[in-house]
Amino acid sequence: MSPASDAVISRILKSHESDLLDDWIREQMSGFRSTSRIREPELRSQSSEFLSLLQQATQSGNVTDVLAPPYGRVRDALNDLSRSRGIQGFSPSETAMFVFSLKRPLFARIRKDLAGDAEGLAVATWAATELLDRLGLYTTEVYQKSREEVIARQQQELLELSTPVVKLWDGILALPMIGTLDSARTQVVMESLLQRIVETGAEVAIIDITGVPTVDTLTAQHLLKTVTAARLMGADCIISGIRPQIAQTIVHLGVDLADVVTKATLADAFRRALEMTGQRDKLRTRA
């Protein structure tokens, strides 16, 4: 890239800053299908901040490497912008259009500035395209990253929400499982159940799988692992809430649940648990 073309971009950004800004904002406002999501003053302040930062950055003579130190503040501004637009529900292309829509006004200025110099015009246009493309791609990347962060956080929250261990009676815990069981979730479920067994000194734990839509070999294996781990710690497990279809699946899969106490409903399992802890009579007197 010749120094001359770099200087052109920097010079145009500097000398035409205010009318460039007006054109750019017009361009952006026409690009939005619904203008209600962002107000013009807000857009104007974002745009003018970006333009002045970009102008400062291009003064360094570098118009290709947007990851270089002179572009640090430009990148920060774009980070803030894509994050806030991501939260406001803008689409990725709407977010990237912030940068891409600068092309038309900027190219118009370059054309006017280098009217007689075809060679210089081509070089400067290419340099400007490259610069804006990279900034646009960077914006999309940040947008994507912020969306992924949101997804990761939601997954974490879901994981925490979905594993309550409830105390049903003295020495009896229940674990109502809801949703599909994958390895990560089962690990959390297992850990929280075992931890509660230690805390409460419970002798019996009921694992209720009424809310588990399907059981495959992996799920069954996870269940058996949980039961075995609880047994190693000295607590007995009962699996309840096995629906007819799931019972059929378990047998068809050849999963061996022979060593585990299984009950059709949570009520049956609870009755059995009271018997196991020798509290059956206590319940009757209270009732």
Binding site: M190, E191, L194, Q195, I197, V198, G201, A202, E203, K225, T228, A229, A230, R231, L232, M233, G234, A235
Partner: protein, 132 residues
């Protein structure tokens, strides 16, 4: 040199593992415990591993072996106080300790052994009735 104490409580032996279990220590425990069962004629062995928070496959197998040896010497073994992390590790290693009985704490373990101590008398009665 670390040593794992073996305490005699009436007709039970209590082994409390308070130090990091390493391989030589496990082998030494195996030796001493079988010796003590033989000397004292203990009917039950309680192995308290509540202070143990790291196990490997060797230690897991040692626990299973010690329990099996005690059974051969006619003493019931109960492993008590296993930590959640240890239980998960053993399950992931595929060491489910079949035949080893477990309890949440020493108290429960003793209760378990006491109810079991009654059991032989039942079977003696049954045998007596059978011989009649």
């Amino acid at each position: 040199m670390d040593r794992i104490p073996i305490l005699k409580l009436r007709n039970l032996l209590l082994v409390t593992i308070q130090v990091d279990m390493h391989d030589r220590l496990a082998l030494q425990l195996q030796d001493e415990l079988t010796q003590r069962i033989n000397e004292t004629g203990a009917r039950g062995v309680l192995i308290d591993i509540s202070a143990l928070d790291i196990v490997d496959s060797f230690i897991g197998r040692m626990i299973a072996n010690i329990a099996a040896m005690a059974r051969v010497l006619d003493a019931d073994t109960v492993v008590v106080g296993m930590q959640p992390a240890v239980a998960i590790t053993l399950v992931e290693l595929g060491l489910t300790l079949p035949g080893v009985r477990t309890a949440l704490n020493v108290d429960r373990g003793m209760a378990l052994l006491e109810t079991n101590a009654d059991a032989p008398t039942d079977s003696n009665e049954a045998n007596a009735r059978f011989s009649d």
